[in-house]
Symmetry: C2
């Protein structure tokens, strides 16, 4: 007999789970990428390119139920229409299919589910370059960035979700014995068990910028806790998730499960398939990473579901002082450019005291910083090859609109201008925009501006900057904050402000690596609720031995009595401990 | 120096936490009640009676902010108006006070919070009899039942919530080191920490029947995870929670905390204080146990909060066959009577095949069961002392209305009649109502009927009974189901049906002990989400060594580079791994 998926992947799973428990991050896929990539079965870049090309302009087959037509919505900012025709399925048919598949998937239990999840990841790993190309051409990200966000690092992140869901499932006690209240003068021995009951159909609303990186944790946490998942990508970036769904369905079918445990829901935007699915009474979990606006919409309308909404939020940087001014400027310029401003390291709001700040190169004014940032951006983008590796191509009019709109709100310190891409002359590639604002322009800078838009905001003091940070976080929910200071008191105040506002904080790190899988990822063990919110625990219990198994003469035993706590004398009905005998 | 509360209670806390981890239930307060009650400082019944009497007809002082008047809403079904005048405080002042107290409470950290929570419980333990009298006279429950639901067992249940919250807090990794992406060819060493961020002000909406039993888990889980709690009792049963709040405030103040970490919100029902608080933007957690109607209202309207709603639901019993017919009848009769039908063991719907079922006393028809149940109830209530120990006194017109209304829907098998209480001739004490219905009367028996109302529902078969059970659970959410059968196949089908519907299941246990703390309590370890949903985890991170601490010449080091995954060759911009150097 072939070993089960769990048996095959047990060691890997256990090692990641042990790492989580110890607060350490294991990265088996990332680590295998160096020397062992070929050994691990990872396709070469060349082969991946051929596979990717072979997908273009063709129907993409998934064998899903309820197919009512075909739909293609994707366009590469580098070469135009992808021409891939995905099946468009009736959303209610997809929900019904997921509900049908749920019973068998639940019955498989956490061991088998976790094993199959790892198997899905292992196969996705062999297609890392193909997935990276799919992300590159649908999000506009540079290819190297796409590989980081769609390849082994994303698979490791998913593996952590698998291990966490598996660990939480194992914590549900399957078999219990305890003593109940006294019956007939003796404690009644009880026996019982708990069962993890998945919430129900899970919906993943895809993110247009990081479809896999942001999508995998919810997808795999739901799967391992027993919930079927409908994957509804953003219309601009379908292919990465479509490949993922196809791989998952293959693994499921090979293991004898209904493949509809995982399905893909795509439609033209005007069909509002996300909204329809998110409010379907059978959909009980919704995962979403993206704009605060849609997150708010989900929380108001998807009332029948648990909503895990990760708001992209307002990245805010507080500059108080630095001992590495050049490093700060260089890092900030890089962060403003990277991936077209779509990564979590892009600072939207840079709060700096109006009267300047101390550095290793002497006092710098707000004006100095603005000018130096502009120059650093130009220097960074001065070489065409670097442009291709740093900037993404713009994929939508929303970003173009934001760039045009933001420049009207204050003096432009660095204008967003077209930048020629060395390999794709027709791609719309633009340098980042930097606009100077006053602290009183709160209504401008507390909005979310997509794309490479940054504001340099002059404040009264660092305290004022921290107060603005706190207020923005309180009003707009979670955000990512960073602070630059050489003063331990300011760092402590920043930590208090950030924690008080529930914001994640980065300290003295301007040139944050662009890799979302490391510096900006959740540390292990921080997401129990993300997993435990996906299931309920129900109990069954019976007396030991079971009444049904008791000999018939048990009926002659002493009758049921109302239990009498040892120390109670009942004042208003007399101290008599009269027992009830019907 | 006095040892901290955590030091004093560490062993107790750790022993309960270890028990939870091992799936065993520890009950230190219950176990100490026998011999060591006096030693543990528990007041005698007589002293408690005097203390209780001394509270009546007087103002109840709490020293809370925003007091705008006095309010008393409680009446004992045994002797009438309690005459206790609680402070009525402006709800928004209470929220503001809780928000002010939050920072210090959060800063106290999980160790101190857990220690103080245990100290509160230890003091409540010494007042167990006083709390039991408060529950007895506000809920109408028999005194012995009130002691079970308000004394040591409730404290043990709370202690389990404390231990669970403490354990989950400890799982948040405080100190982390990891390697980030490559910078300048070398991995960047990162350091960071996670912090548990409480959600915010927590609201406990009190339950009129089991104010402490149902209230303590949420109250203590919120406190230990760092959230201040506003306790808003049901107007019919304020005193038990008011005493609890007063004790908590004393312990907090003695430890140097703002007592407003715990406050009491009472008002006349027409002021809708629960609704006002539940929709206050600052209130981020709501706990409620009770009617599905109010639970639904909360989930629709308290959108800014996490709602932990435990619906009282429809208790359903499926009778298929039994080897202990007399035990079944006797147990069922007792369950119908106990505490006025307000306990979770009261079966509202008893589903039995229309054509009867097999027993150790031969085939029994539905009619036999109805007649035998009626007789058993009469026999049980035939002795006045038993009446005082089994039945509660009715406290509200809602129950009277339900008894009158339900009897109109089908043939009455046992009428609800006044029963004289031996000690309180004016108390409104009534025997339970049993009405026969058809399976097609679903619209009647899928409603929630408060008080001692049971329906004997004739079905086509046990399969039909299980199908009805599953449908009711799917439509009305969680419910408690029980099944009686000698057939392993039926038991397996019942388990599948119950788990499939997310219902808790009890097998072959008609005479469930009335003690909610044992047979019907959640087994340990089943409630991770109940705790982890009360906080978020936020992160801070910085490079090692900190840039701020780096010597100034660090600025001369190699410039930031865009990380380059080892195995990537970038096909559309050439394989060159050109590094970025601004």
């Amino acid at each position: 007999m072939r070993p089960s998926a769990y048996e095959r992947h047990r060691e890997l799973l256990q090692s990641v789970a042990r790492g989580l428990a110890a607060g350490e991050r294991r990265r088996p896929f990332t680590e295998a990428t160096g020397q062992d990539a070929a050994e691990a079965g990872m396709r070469s870049t060349r082969t991946a390119g051929k596979v990717f090309d072979s997908l273009l302009g063709k129907p993409f087959e998934l064998g899903q139920p309820g197919e009512v037509g075909r739909v293609g919505t994707e366009s590469s900012p580098y070469f135009g229409d992808l021409g891939i025709a995905y099946p468009r399925c009736d959303p209610s048919e997809l929900v019904a299919a997921a509900a049908r598949a749920a019973a068998g998937w639940r019955a498989a239990g956490p061991y088998q589910r976790a094993g199959l999840a790892v198997e899905i990841l292992r196969r996705l790993n062999t297609r890392s370059h193909e997935l990276a190309l799919a992300v590159h051409h649908t999000t506009g990200q540079p290819l190297s960035a796409a590989l980081r966000a769609a390849g082994p690092r994303a698979q490791d992140r998913a593996l952590e979700a698998v291990a966490q869901a598996f660990t939480e499932s194992e914590r549900v006690p399957a078999d219990l014995r305890w003593e109940s209240a006294v019956r007939g003068g003796r404690p009644l021995a009880m026996q019982g068990g708990c069962a993890l009951v998945p919430r129900g159909v899970s919906l993943l609303v895809g993110c247009p910028d990081f479809p896999l990186w942001n999508g995998y944790p919810g997808l795999f946490a739901s799967l391992v806790t027993g919930n079927p998942v409908i994957v509804a990508p953003h219309p601009r970036s379908v292919l990465p998730l479509a490949i993922t769904v196809r791989v998952a369905r293959q693994v499921l079918a090979e293991a004898g499960h209904l493949p509809d445990v995982v399905t893909l829901a795509v439609a033209e935007p005007e069909r509002r398939v996300h909204q329809r699915l998110a409010t379907d009474p059978e959909v009980r979990i919704v995962d979403f990473t993206g704009s605060a606006r849609f997150a708010d919409w989900l929380e108001v309308h998807a009332r029948q579901a648990v909503v895990f909404a990760d708001r992209s939020g307002l990245n805010t940087m507080v500059v108080d002082s630095t001992e590495d001014y050049r490093g700060l400027v260089r890092g900030l310029a890089l962060a403003m450019c990277l991936c077209n401003g779509t990564v979590r390291t892009t600072p939207q709001n840079i709060l700096v005291p109006e009267r300047g700040f101390g550095t290793d190169e002497g006092h710098k004014t707000l004006r100095d910083l603005g000018a130096d940032l502009g120059e650093a951006v130009d220097r960074l983008l001065g070489h065409p090859t670097r442009v291709a590796r740093v900037l993404g191509a713009i994929t939508c009019d929303e970003v173009r609109g934001a760039l045009a709109g933001a420049s009207r709100h204050g003096p432009v310190l660095h204008a967003s201008a077209p930048v020629p891409h060395p390999d794709h002359p027709h791609a719309d590639v633009r340098s980042p925009l930097l606009v100077r604002l006053r602290a009183s322009d709160e209504r401008v800078y507390t909005r979310e501006w997509p794309g490479p838009v940054s504001f340099l905001v002059g404040t009264e003091s660092t305290s004022h900057s921290l107060a603005l940070l706190r207020r923005a976080a309180a009003r707009h929910g979670a955000l990512h904050a960073s602070v630059h200071s050489t003063d331990p008191l300011v760092l402590a105040a920043a930590e208090t402000a950030a924690l008080g506002a529930g914001a994640h904080l980065t300290v003295n790190l301007a040139d944050l690596p662009a890799d979302p899988s490391s510096a900006l990822a959740d540390p292990p063990g921080s997401a129990a609720h993300f997993v435990t919110g996906r299931f309920r625990v129900v109990r069954s219990r019976w007396p030991v031995p079971q009444a049904a198994a008791r000999p018939a003469q048990a009926a002659e035993q002493p009758a049921a009595r109302v239990p009498e706590p040892a120390s109670v004398a009942v004042p208003d009905s007399g101290p008599a401990a009269e027992l009830i005998d019907v």
